[in-house]
Structures are given as structure tokens and as C-alpha cells.
Symmetry: D2
Subunit: 403 residues, 4 copies
Amino acid sequence: MADKKLGVWMVGGCGNVATTAILGLVGLQKQLAPTTGLVTELREFAALPLVPWGDLVVGGHDIREPNLRATAGRLANEQVVPRELVEACSSELEQIDASIKPGIAYKAGKAIRALADVPVDDDATTAPRELISRLQNDLKTFIEANDLRGLVVMNVASTEPPLEAELPDRWEAFDELLNQPGADIPASTLYAVAALELGLPFVNFTPSAGANFSAVEELTKRKKICHAGHDGKTGETLMKTVLAPLFAERNLEVLSWVGHNIFGNLDGRILDNPENRAAKVATKDRVVGGTLGYDPQTLVSIEYIESLGDWKTAWDHIHFRGFLGTLMTLQFTWQGCDSALAAPLVLDLVRLADVASRAGNVGALTPLAAFFKHPLGTDCHHFAKQHARLLDWVRVTSEQMAC
Amino acid sequence: MADKKLGVWMVGGCGNVATTAILGLVGLQKQLAPTTGLVTELREFAALPLVPWGDLVVGGHDIREPNLRATAGRLANEQVVPRELVEACSSELEQIDASIKPGIAYKAGKAIRALADVPVDDDATTAPRELISRLQNDLKTFIEANDLRGLVVMNVASTEPPLEAELPDRWEAFDELLNQPGADIPASTLYAVAALELGLPFVNFTPSAGANFSAVEELTKRKKICHAGHDGKTGETLMKTVLAPLFAERNLEVLSWVGHNIFGNLDGRILDNPENRAAKVATKDRVVGGTLGYDPQTLVSIEYIESLGDWKTAWDHIHFRGFLGTLMTLQFTWQGCDSALAAPLVLDLVRLADVASRAGNVGALTPLAAFFKHPLGTDCHHFAKQHARLLDWVRVTSEQMAC
Amino acid sequence: MADKKLGVWMVGGCGNVATTAILGLVGLQKQLAPTTGLVTELREFAALPLVPWGDLVVGGHDIREPNLRATAGRLANEQVVPRELVEACSSELEQIDASIKPGIAYKAGKAIRALADVPVDDDATTAPRELISRLQNDLKTFIEANDLRGLVVMNVASTEPPLEAELPDRWEAFDELLNQPGADIPASTLYAVAALELGLPFVNFTPSAGANFSAVEELTKRKKICHAGHDGKTGETLMKTVLAPLFAERNLEVLSWVGHNIFGNLDGRILDNPENRAAKVATKDRVVGGTLGYDPQTLVSIEYIESLGDWKTAWDHIHFRGFLGTLMTLQFTWQGCDSALAAPLVLDLVRLADVASRAGNVGALTPLAAFFKHPLGTDCHHFAKQHARLLDWVRVTSEQMAC
Amino acid sequence: MADKKLGVWMVGGCGNVATTAILGLVGLQKQLAPTTGLVTELREFAALPLVPWGDLVVGGHDIREPNLRATAGRLANEQVVPRELVEACSSELEQIDASIKPGIAYKAGKAIRALADVPVDDDATTAPRELISRLQNDLKTFIEANDLRGLVVMNVASTEPPLEAELPDRWEAFDELLNQPGADIPASTLYAVAALELGLPFVNFTPSAGANFSAVEELTKRKKICHAGHDGKTGETLMKTVLAPLFAERNLEVLSWVGHNIFGNLDGRILDNPENRAAKVATKDRVVGGTLGYDPQTLVSIEYIESLGDWKTAWDHIHFRGFLGTLMTLQFTWQGCDSALAAPLVLDLVRLADVASRAGNVGALTPLAAFFKHPLGTDCHHFAKQHARLLDWVRVTSEQMAC
């Protein structure tokens, strides 16, 4: 089994984040890409038995026709990835297209369904269980075809609108609901269930619901499998979880924290839709009060500005009170490339979820909180503490697995 | 002794930082000022036997004629402190003037000597030891007159030019040199020696040399007394020690870090003098490379812009490389009031140096690194780690002193 | 008549802008305030027979109980006006309170009506004409009581929601509609009609409808009186009308222009209400395309952030394309005090409307376009051209009136 | 003659600005580049008989070995120019290399001389006149070889240190001095004299001295030829000349104006040398006081930050006082690509100097002030007025030449 490879299954495999991650992975495999931005390449991770880049095989689902090479070419135009790398990896990208299967858009909302160029399931008449079975067939086929030792399922698809219905707390009732045509359970959750039922780790890099249900958590316990999420922390929110502790630890009172985000990629276009945006703003807005221990006035906006492409600019304005009531201000402007920030974390999470799974971790992987805007299983948003917690887990797990 | 009070001795007692700290202290004593900005008022410090604000008595040295009320009035004009508080505390401020004694400016450089409106010692013919004796007389007189249980000496005077001569490594030789007229040892170090020889804790809130000599460290061991320093970390550098770890922990490569600081108070005017600025820029510039483990191009400027008064604006531009070589930028603008940021830390350090002294700590207080740009006795510039280290010390010391 | 004074009638006389303008005027009359910020004090205006500050007498309408001294005191707390000036002018402010009469809130929307602490007219059963008569009585009484040579009516009240109904184009039909109870004509327009029918110049410093109707324009022709508006150009929009021409004149293509405005005064609270905000955003958003000659993507937000008080921070992000397609960015942050920017323009406009009226100008005063976000009677938003046009008018009018 | 072409002679033909301008020109000739950024392509210039892009032929001088293709390739790496355009124009670029002749570095300072990879003249023993003769031979040979109707000489070479010696005011004495070996006259002036003596228009796009001498101005009168300069206004200074008038025209008092510029191209490296920087800072710093009519505190810094390449970031902080003394702040960040901003202006100036020359303009071309940081022959730094002046000249000259 040591010789077998590990699968990486990208849900939303045609998107910018998936494409950048896949291109980067191929680049790493061909030793054409440096390891900048990869947390698991820090020396503190050296003792952890991480899967080598060369042992990863990529497949995925998407509701769009895959053309990774074309997408990567567009990203090169937008100065997200180097054109030379795209050219050097083009035959590999073309081959991976063949492993990206038609996905689902069940209860994913109008904005997402409008993107589909493969036929998608009917929201009213389809039973979720049918879709799960189809997804599981794809996963099993991929594992067999590539003789894999395992597979990590990674959700990097567009953000779904928040769920309106309440879902059953226990797995049994939840499982039954899956048989009901039109049951109000979103695609991201069906992907999660598909993976977890097969004993495969699931990582939710998006603000969509995914595995965030106690019933699904129960399923992970039954199957003794782990999962991680949710909503990758890449830019403005990352800054918040670094800066809010500063104010708390200096006893400076934050009066208001305003954050405006502008960007122009597909994510931005989907989030320009108010129902999809709601989920995102909620995870972005939670961290300030969570860290400070009180709730200053906050404002978070996300706006689609087409000319920016994959480049996100965030402007944050923090108004705070110091000694003797003096009012002061910190402003920052973050000009980052969304996909280039997200992609290495996606690759890191594949490796870490794989190690966690092999180490026997079950349920939500709270030691991975540093990677997420809304980490499952913990209320801690303090980045330095999250990172320290991660390094503790790395030490313990390294020792455990060395035995 | 529990009924006796503690002295706070401000070296540079007429400056903006001292005045703001003294006004704040009087405000706290009269319950007219909130505790915002005071680190020792965080709940994590509750178990530490900190001196109550009401038990502090203020004196100091300065080379200017003291007029705390007038200085506080000017700070109110500049919107650094509330005018109502100045008015409510004016009689206390006037009383404290009487405890601010003529200071020294020995080897403090032309820019500082030009500020003096009390007669200052001759740089060529005075022996440092004479000055130390005079300072010690002032300290002893103050302790006796106020029947104090102790005294913390706090340097908040203007920044001296960096020292050119090398000084002896051992205390014996250093002590001898103190007798030599014109010996090249700056005022801040004479203040430190004066305090430490008397077994009084010394805190250096400035970039001046103070106690930063191995000979003086040896003196602290002999006298079994502690000291802390140096250069209070209040604004732009504080931000650096919070943000640089973010880049390190996400494996993002910092290519350049530019920081421009503009402000218009006396500190700024003194620092506009290139020789005085050199010391400051050195401590500000050290932290980025120290945290990252490699040295990106850095640039730090400090410029005197009169119209800004005590308000400092820093603009930092951080250029970094992410996954697949993508270049990104973080910029921040910090608009803070220097004295309002420094003053509560000065009061915190008085309380902490007092506890450390009572707990028997000897030598440089490395657990207080979070307060300084250039912490003595440690290379760690990672703010969150420094703060965690401080909280560890608080726990251990609380337990030790509870016995 | 040369010895008679001129009245200034502030609609919204209790608001921040009115209070700052009134305080400033009293300060100018008592020679306690400098002329900074007053356009009419530039040397180019020296030959224009402007009313001296000492010859102005203030009255007004408001739906709140007047207490100018208390409002000015609050503005001093928020560092909008100097406390000493408030104290020096307090008896004058108290006297002016007596000349601020109960206003109207007819069709002014819920947010504004909720501010009223004087009884306001019923939106359904009152006929606009009744209200106009009441307002005109107030104006006439004030003129007589103070033996004034004239009166300029200045609207600085809160922004009304945009009008939904279409109103008659001709004055006759419009006039008839005024008799119809519940007719959909907002308060700002009733104030305008009240003034203009009496032959008094009306200035609309707000985005509300005011005199912006062809029927009202017809009225001005009949009465041979002038008016000016609308929406004072004080901060972010002023910047837009200065910067957009730069891009046009250098043939640089603006791709997107994003502007976020945050502030915390009453105006902000009213504008936080979507229906009131609509009017404001419309006037702010028009200038970029108007100047460039094409429509880049634009975004304007106005958000109420309580801690900022009267201080507005605007962040603008301008993305533009240069030679050979190179994408570049200009960002600016404007930190201004709304009332301190608006108040001198209000005083300038009183003087200029008075001169225009004496010079026989009729209808919309297009030479005053530089003062407004949405100048009546012209499409030119190019600030430098507007200012040049103003100076031309100053020259011509100075000569005309010198005869 | 109408069929003959016009020569463009780039002094510093191998630099970033020249390379971008040449690449852009070839792109325009091949209809591969849009006209964005070219002022002369605005519709207001349509009636002016501008030379068509296709009628321009490029040559130049440089002290480095020409390799325009390689330089353009590097600029494509730095995202200054599109890679596809470089590839499409590579054979043209290679051909132009042959027309770039060895330049001079006489009295150009150490930093510039260190760049030379062709042999340069000795500063002590060479007589300027020898160098001028050599340059003139190159110009004449180029004109003959290409059968040109004329030639515009454009200085885009690195910035020289400011001149220390005083030079004669009259041409006769100046001319004599040219024969004196080691005479202290910098290279840029020798290029200017070489061109003007031949009756060819000279444009100085740099802060170097060039034709800025009354003796040289006298030469232009004798030869009845025109020249323009100096120091192209592309970014931060352009912003200053747009924003300073705003403060003046609103009677807002600027208290301080701080501008920090960071960038990493060769220009930056040369300007990192204090003596070269002095010339640049002087022209950048003059505009604020020049426009306002009084001198607020100003600070201009230019710093070389290697990682930024050709991308310049400027941060400006403007502190100003409004009505009743309220202090406010405007900050802007300009992120522009130096060469992409300069190159189209260089092409515009070639066309405009050619028209001016054909129209018989003599001496310094003050109507072109809008293009320069330090326009010759006028003190007006108000951009909108400069642009209006330019359009006036365009109208008058169009009419004159239509006759």
C-alpha cells in the first residue's frame, strides 16, 4: 500500500481555485514550481509523514465542461499564474480534464445553476440519495481505475445560498430525508455525505453548508472518518484574525470595523447575488466579535468589480479607542490574488486530511482551524493560537505515526 | 510595609509621554479615567498582586522646567488628552511639578542639550560618578520624604544618539570608568546605574542605551535587581511584530517592507536630527528580519512634520510573493497618538517591574518582551508569542506570590 | 436700504451643517474665526459687492426643538468646532434659537418624520398650499421684525427619499396641485415655492428635490428670481470631479471607480435608510461618467458607522488602463469633517445668491456649479472648468454692479 | 517633402522609457496597439496636422549596448508591456538596435558612467565641442540614410546630478566654453546643443539640465528652433498639480504635504544615489508651493525598492485646515507603471514638437507645460490650466497651419 497513490477529488474542479491548485500540483510534480505559500512545506512539518506531491492523482466533479488548459490560460492573462508554467504543464492539464465528471447543482441556487453546461438534476423531483449514489460511483471508479490507497474530497465549488430549512439532528432521520424527492439539502452536503459514507475524508473550503450538520458529524463518528472546514481563510479575514487579537491584548477598544472587498472573478459574480453573498458575509463577519469578546459595529461588503479579475482588493477601516479615550484609526489595503492564496492551502489540506485520516482522527479536525474563516468545532479565531494549536497537532501526530 | 506607597520616577518627567502617563495616573486615582489601553487591567492579570493606582507617588528628573499643567493643556489642544481631565487634575499636576528635579544631559547629544532650561553638566570635565551621586541623592530624598516602600525608575526621556565608544564588559572596569571626567557614557546609562546601584528597578522605554551593557547586567546580578527594556513598542513596530509572523506562518515570502513614519512632537523634532534618528531606526528595522528568518529589503523613515503634533501616521508597504510566484501587496496606515499609546504601557511597566522586583526576578525581564521594540535578553519579536510568554509569567508569578 | 441687513433662513436650522454655519458666522461677526474654507474670501472675489458678515441675520425652520448651543457643544465634543468658540458665542446662539420656527415634514419619509419633536402635518389630509402659507408667514414676519432688505432661503435639512410621482411641467397645473390634500410634493419643494413666490432666492444644499422641477423653474422666471442647487459638493464627490478630468485629459481609460463612504452623524443615520440613500447615491454616482464621456463600472456606498460622528472617511479605488493595456490603480482616503466642509460653502452661497439676486440673475444659477454635486442647468462636472466659469461670472458681475 | 518621414532620436535609447515608447510606436505602426494614454489621440487634437505613426523612424544614442528585444522581454516579465506585442514586434526591435549609436556620459556623474558598456569620453581631457561634433555626425548620417524631412531629439536618459558651476548667460561665451577640455557642462546639454545647432527640435523628458540655460535659449532664437522640457509629469507630481489647485480654490490651507515614492527600475537605482536624486526631488517639490501661493511643509522621498521593478508606488499624505480650524487629511496611493505612463507622452511630445517646429515656434514651448514637472518658461503648475493652455495652442496652431 505504501506504493499506492492518493487521490485528490476537486468538487468544482473547473474553477479558478481548483485550476490553480491543479496547475501548482503538476508544477510541483515536475519540479517547475517553488513551494512558496505551502504551509506544509514549513520546516515545522518536516517530521509529519505527508504524501509526496508526486503521489497525488487528481479527479473531480463540475457542472461545467472541463478545459483546465483554457482556464489556466485565462488565469495567466490575469497574471494569476505564470504563462510558462501553463505551457509546460498543458498536456498534464488536458489529461486531467478526462477525470472531471459531471457534477450536481441540487438546491445550489439559481446563480450557480445558471453556470451549468452539463445537464443538472431537477430540484423538485430528484431524491438526494440518487445523486449521492451517482457521485459515489464516480469516486469508486476513480479509486479503482487508479489503484489508489485513498481519496480526499475537497469542495472548492461556488458558494451556495444559506440553507433555510432545519435538518434533522440525528443521522437516521437525515438519511431517511435523503430519499425524499426535493428534500432541501444542498449539493455541498450531498458531496460530503457521498465521501464520508465511503470512509473518505471531506474538506469544505467554501462557506457552503457541506458537512456542517450534527447528523453528518454523527455519520463521521459511525464511519470513523474525519472532515475539515469551513471557508478557507485567505485574505481580509486572515488579516482580521491576526489584528483583532492585537487590540484585545493591548486592551484597546475597537469601536467599529469596516471591511470592503472588491474583486472580479466568477466567485465575485456569484457572490454579487445577495442570496449567495449572505453565507459568505456571515463567516467573514463573525471573527471580530469572536476574538474581542464584545461586538463592535462591523460592516462587511463583497462587491463584484469586473475589471479586477481574480485580484481582490480589501480596504479595512478600524476605529479604536485608547488611553484616556483617544480615538485612533488603522486602515489596511490588501491586494491579493484570490486563487494564488487559496490554492496552496487546498493542497496543504489534502495532505493534512490524509495524515489525519491515517492517524485515526475522527470527526471535525479542529487542529486545522488556522485554515478556515469559520473553523468547525472551535470558537477560537485567534490566528496565532490556531497556528500554535496546529503545530502541537503536528508534533503529537508525527510522534504517534513514527511508532 | 503593605501600607507604604510605591514611587514612580520619570526620567524625562516633563515630556509628552510622562505627562500623559502622570495625568492618566492621577485620573485613575480620582476614578476619572477608564482603564482602556492598560494591559495590566486585562482579566488575565487579575491574580497578580499589582500595586493599586492609588498607591503610586510620582517624581522625576528633567532638563526642562516642569510645568505639567501647561504641557497637559497643550496636549489637550492637540487632542491627545481630554481637556476636562486636565482641568479636573490640575492641582495634582501642579503639586507633582515640585517633585521633578533638574536632570542631566551628559553625552546626550546637541539636540537634547539644546532643550535644557536648567543648567547642565559639562560633557568634557564632569565625571559620570558625580552625576550618579547627585541623581541618587534625589532618589533617596524622594523615598524618605514620601516614606515609600520602593521606587521604579522609568526612562521616558528623548532619544540619545547611538554610542560610539565600546564600553568595558565587566562591572569593575565600568565602575572605574565612571570616575573618569568626560568618559563616553550617556545620560540614560547614568540614570540606569543610579537606580540599580540603589537596588531600584529600572525600565528603559526609549531607544537610548540605558542598561544595555553586559557590565550593567552584571551589576543587576550583584544587586539582585531587575530591569526591563528597551524602546516601547506602540505603533508601527507593534504592527510589524503582529504581521511579519503571518507571512512566516503562511510561507509567503516578503520581498520588501517599507515603513514611513511622520509626526510632529518633540520626539519627532529630536529624531529629525540624523544622529538621534539612527538609534530609533535601528530598533524599528530589526524586527522584520528577526521574525521572518531572512532579510528582505527594508526601509524605515521617521520624519518630523510639524502640523501633525503628537499624532503619528505610519504608512507601510509590504510586497510579498505567494504561490507560483504571484506578487501581492499589503499596505497599512496607522494613525495613532504616540503619547496615548505609550502612556498606559509606561504605567503597566511600573506595576510589572514592581511585582517582578518583589518576586525576586533578577536581570533583564524577558517576559516583558511584548512591550518593547528591542526586548533585552531575547530575539523573539513575534508579538503573539511574546504575549503568551507574558501570560505564562503572570500565571507563575501569581502562584509564587500567593504562597 | 444700504443700511438694512440681509436675512439667512436655514431650513433644517438645528442640524450639524446649519449649526456649524451659524456658529462660524457669529465667529466671523465677532472676528473670532478666520476665513479659511470660505471661497468668497479668495482675492478673486474682492471686487464683488458681497454682503459683509456683520450684515447677516439668521432665522430658520426645523422639526426639532432648537438648541444651537447644545448642538454646538456636541460638535465640539466630536472635534468639529473649537470649544472656545462655542463658549464665546453661546449667548448669540441662544438668541438665534428664538428665530427658528417649527418646520414641516410633509412627504419627507418615515426616517425624517421620526426626528420631529414639534407636531408635524399629516401627509394624507394636509394640502401643500396650507403649509406654504404658514412658511411664508414665518418668512415675512422675520423680514419685518428685523427690517431686512432681503432674505436667502437655504435648505440644509436631511435628505428626503426620491420622489415617485411625476409632477406637472407647467406652473399653473403645479400650483393647482398644491391645493390638493395629500398631493405628492415633498417638503423641500414647498420650502422652495414658499421662498420663490415671495421673490426670495432659494438655495438647495441637499439632494432633496427642492426647486428641481420645470414648473418651479417657470415660477422663478415669472417672479424674476434666482435659485441654486443641488447637493453641496464637499468631499468624495469633489475629489471625483477633480480626478476624473485627469484621466480624461491624459487619455487613460477608467475601468472601474469604487467609492465607499462611512460616517456617523445624523445625515448618516438618515441615509442608512435605503429610500433616503437612493437620492444621495444618484447624485454622487453621476459625475464620473459625466466627466469621462463613457460609463466605467461604478459603485458608491454610504454607510452609517456611529463611532465616526461627523467625520467622514471615503475610500476610493480607481482602476485604469494605460498605454499598451497596462492596468494601474489610484486609491485615496479622504478623512474630512462633513459639517466643517459644508458650512463655509453654505455661507458662500448665501452671499453669492444675494449678489446674483441683486444683479438681476433669474432661474438656475449655473455659474455656481462648482458648489454642487448635481448642478442645475449644466452637465459639466469638471471642477476646474466649473471654477473658471465661477470666476468669469464674478468678473462680469463685479463690472456690471460697479456701474 | 510631404512624402518624407520624420526621425525620432532617443537619447538613452536603451532605457525602459525609450524601449516602451519604441515598442508602442512599432505596435501603433502595425496596428497592434490601441491609442490609450496618447494625449494627441484625443479628439481635440484631430485638426492638428500631426505626423502619422507610420511616418516615424527611430534612432538614438546610448552608453549601453542596444538590445531592445531583450529589454522589452524583461519589461514583459515585469508586466509593463504585453509579451505578445514584444513577440509580434521583435524583428522591428532588432532592426532599430542598429540605429542606436554609442552615446556620451560627459559630466554625467559616477552612477551613470558606471552603466556604460561602450567606451565613454574622459571627463577631464575631452572638450565638449568634440563630443557635440560626433553627436551631430550621427544625427546627420541618420537623416541622410533615411532621407528624413526632419528629426526630433528626445532626452530620456538617466537623471544627471545637478550642475554645480554657473554657466555663461550669453551664447557666445557658452560656445567658447565648449572648446575648453573638462568644461563643466553635462551630457544632456551637449545633446541639446548638438540638436539645436542643426536646427532640430530638442525635448528634455528628464530632470537633467538639457537646454535650461539662457545661453542655449539664445541659441534657439538664433537658429529659430523650438525646444520643450523638462521632466515628464507622469504620476505623483501629476496628482499634485491636479490636487493642489483644489485646496487653493476651496480656500483650504495645506499645512503639510508628504510624498514617498518607491520603485525598483534603473531610474530608481540611479536616483538612489543622493547626487542624482537631488535634481529629481527639486522638480517634484516645487509644484505644491508654486500652486498654492504659500509654502506648506513638504517632504518628497524617492527610494529604490528592487522588488517593485518598473512599478512605482507613491503614498502622499496631505494635512489641511478647513473652516474654524478643523484639521483634515487626504491620502492617496498611486500604483503606476512608470514606463507605461511616460512612453505615450514621449510619443506625443515628438508629434507636438514637430508641429511646433513646422509652425515656426521658437524657443521654449510653454504651451506644452502640461507634460512637465518643471515646465520651461512658465510658473503655472495648475494642470487644468496647463491643459486648457495646450488646447488653445492646438486650436490656434491648427488654424494657422490650415491656411
